[in-house]
Symmetry: none
Subunit: 201 residues, 4 copies
Amino acid sequence: MTTRRRTPDATRRSQATRRAILTAALELAGEVGYERLTIEGIAARAGAGKQTIYRWWPSKGAVLFDALLMLSEGQGDESAELPDTGDLEADLKTVLRATVDELNDPRRSEPMRALAVETLLDPALAADFAERLDEPVRQIKLRRLRRAQQAGQLAPDADLDVAVDMIWGPLERRWLHRRGPLTAGFADAVVETALDGLRPR
Amino acid sequence: MTTRRRTPDATRRSQATRRAILTAALELAGEVGYERLTIEGIAARAGAGKQTIYRWWPSKGAVLFDALLMLSEGQGDESAELPDTGDLEADLKTVLRATVDELNDPRRSEPMRALAVETLLDPALAADFAERLDEPVRQIKLRRLRRAQQAGQLAPDADLDVAVDMIWGPLERRWLHRRGPLTAGFADAVVETALDGLRPR
Amino acid sequence: MTTRRRTPDATRRSQATRRAILTAALELAGEVGYERLTIEGIAARAGAGKQTIYRWWPSKGAVLFDALLMLSEGQGDESAELPDTGDLEADLKTVLRATVDELNDPRRSEPMRALAVETLLDPALAADFAERLDEPVRQIKLRRLRRAQQAGQLAPDADLDVAVDMIWGPLERRWLHRRGPLTAGFADAVVETALDGLRPR
Amino acid sequence: MTTRRRTPDATRRSQATRRAILTAALELAGEVGYERLTIEGIAARAGAGKQTIYRWWPSKGAVLFDALLMLSEGQGDESAELPDTGDLEADLKTVLRATVDELNDPRRSEPMRALAVETLLDPALAADFAERLDEPVRQIKLRRLRRAQQAGQLAPDADLDVAVDMIWGPLERRWLHRRGPLTAGFADAVVETALDGLRPR
DNA sequence: ATGTAACCGAGACGGTACGTCCTGTCTTTTA
DNA sequence: TAAAAGACAGGACGTACCGTCTCGGTTACAT
């Protein structure tokens, strides 16, 4: 007696309820942390039925994902670009400092950490996350570096995939593992070291 | 009637039971993943009472932590050093290739991933982990880099803390987030890029 | 954050589950005895979740109480009366012999003993039991005695509350404390002694 | 590999510890009630090891039994007799009024209730209790009635076993089931009714 | 005096059951 | 007919005690 999972009719979806659920998820993630965030808690806070959540999202991670997407609605365009003043080092410092500021704001940072952790545990969510958030952003970074490479500011044989990891990796690592403070100085040091290398010149 | 948490008497501890629990934890973490690893399951597999686990460990993450420590028993000395043939680049490649091999072995890798994720969720466990595993290893890395710096193989003003992140960070990131394959080639590229920098020379 | 005990909605209650739980409770009480009757066992036998039991009953005694009420459903009317042929002594012997038979049937007797013991330990249950079972039955007994008193078959100044205790007490005592066999002869002796008194005439 | 249950050597028994355990059992039975009285609790309060209790007593009921025996030490002689002034009715009233007073003193009454309940659940304890407390007392009662019967104050064919139940049963029932108040008046009424019977004379 | 055998306090251990919490499904009621 | 409300089976949580066991420390008797 297989009760086939019916696909809900998205056109009839209540937008007010959707927003209430996403808002409740964000608030609770910030208040109690991801571990103690529960579907029941979200439903109760949102004044929604549990079934409504199960109808539209496969996991609490997916709810949080949509909640974060809602937050960054509008500014997260596909066609966005990193600043390009011609000075790669200055541009990268500008971008990384902005990231530092964002990660230091707990209101946005806590739900993001929660989601990041969830992607480590849930491969399906990780794939969704990679496709809809991580990869587009990575392409933006790669485009900026490629332009710099064409302008002769980066070594012609530099592996840009490695370069992205090297520039943005340390920051993400410190943030995710709460290892050491996130400061503008750290951002600058990373950019300088990545560009100049560790060997004496 | 406050029933003060009594400190258990470690001298009476059953080593056989301890080993059974740690072994069961490793096996189960490998079999069902960290999310579905339960204290009840560990106790059942180990033939131990739940209370015995609760008596000695504060969380399932702590059990897994001890289990991994047991695995690396003996070789995890404080006085260990990275190889130093005088050729920093070659030495780093050797070390990172070894790490790649280790991380590609699911028997060790899966419980480690599980533990790494848990440190993201449990600050107390994270502190324990940092103190007993991460920081000692980081010091070993720093010592090797410092010797290279003194030998003139690294820039005298290079920030070695940033350097460590830059060399080992990308590997860890790929592993933890399952982003891209872990290969010897990737390890080599990271070492080369970190040492030479991205700018043309 | 006080999580107020929500009152369950009785109209939504599953009658099938309720019956399964009460049946399982009766069976288990008969099989393993009251002491080793557990909520977990009842839930398992009934194929119910533990929470379903905790939602509707405050204690295992209360479950058993309802189970016994279910058993005697229909015949336990408020308006029921003891037989009245005009011969008090014969009627009382009839009633007590029937009680003897009932108490000698372990299928009904064991759960009843279990419940009786539980009322000794749980005042709330005792009150419920007294109100819904014991007192109605006592009123039936009192009505029969009162009619006999009006008919001149009992002394006009006899304390009927004491009389009830004197007629039914010894039987209950032997049963509850397993002191001596329950026989028709014992029932007869009690009735005769209670009516005639101990003094020579 | 049967580890034969060794018989403890009673001559070496620590009397101080025994008293501490019995005292703790009485106190705790009064404080938290029988249900929540635990061997662990008794051991902790007495400053004794759990094994010391298990060595000497088979159940918590047995501990409480010995504790009550300790309380009534000295006055519980085998050769004791009920008062015999020649007036049976007056003597019985005296005895039952004394019992009423005893049962109204919670310090003695509560542990006794606890023990009484336990005998309902534990047949081994019930047998011990019957042999060492109940039966001797019953014999004393029977001896008094027998003397009265020989003196012509009771019907020659009266069943004295039934008589004992009839005289002492109602009091015990009210006490054990907390049904109605225990008063001297009730004691008197029971004695009068039992002696005179319910029929008009 | 010195084994040596027992009791004793202490408490770790494998277990059972507790009562709570949450999951994901299902059903009923509301709008 | 979507959504709220919430009952349900299931199962993990962390706690409390159970009764058994082993460990040293301390009597007390027998060499």
